[in-house]
Subunit: 97 residues, 2 copies
């Protein structure tokens, strides 16, 4: 049993697009090869924490563990969820393993 990491990986791409940073530029800022960034964003690799933090930092973000009871509020704050809808969980189970 595994978890849907794509929400977080998509957040990377969203942030990168929002900041208009290419994978190559992100690569320059982090010293992570662009090819690796490509695979990370597509969920092909199971990225390590240090790598994820480098990317987050370069995108002006920090990682946090949010208790479930606060997730909705936090998501509204960081603008990842429209204010109205609340049906879908940001993470879901899948059978990928």
């Amino acid at each position: 049993m595994n978890f849907n990491k794509f929400a977080l990986l998509e957040a990377i791409k969203e942030r990168r697009d929002a900041e208009r940073i290419s994978q190559a530029e992100l690569s320059r800022r982090t010293n992570i090869p662009q090819s690796h960034i490509s695979r990370i964003e597509r969920g092909i690799v199971d990225v390590q924490l240090s790598t994820l933090m480098q990317i987050s930092f370069a995108l002006g973000c920090e990682l946090r563990m949010i208790p479930k009871r606060h997730v909705d509020l936090v998501d509204r704050v960081i603008d990842r969820q429209p204010y109205e809808t609340n049906d879908k969980p940001a993470y879901s189970l899948d059978d990928e393993t």
Copy 2:
């Protein structure tokens, strides 16, 4: 150059302690060996995202990338930072690489 992952790893231990879950119990819930959980919490290994997400889930949390301008607010919401002090960044650079 690397980043201080300990803030996040400490958050794991804080949550685990708060929920009064032993490493062995967390191991049971996640199917991650207790020995590995021990090393993760102490920052000895560079944990992979899937592993971190399993742990987060078992502790009733989800991971989020928080834009820096919202970090203080989010930290107050999730109670990781005293309301008054604001000097220290939750992440800092170190030379560990």
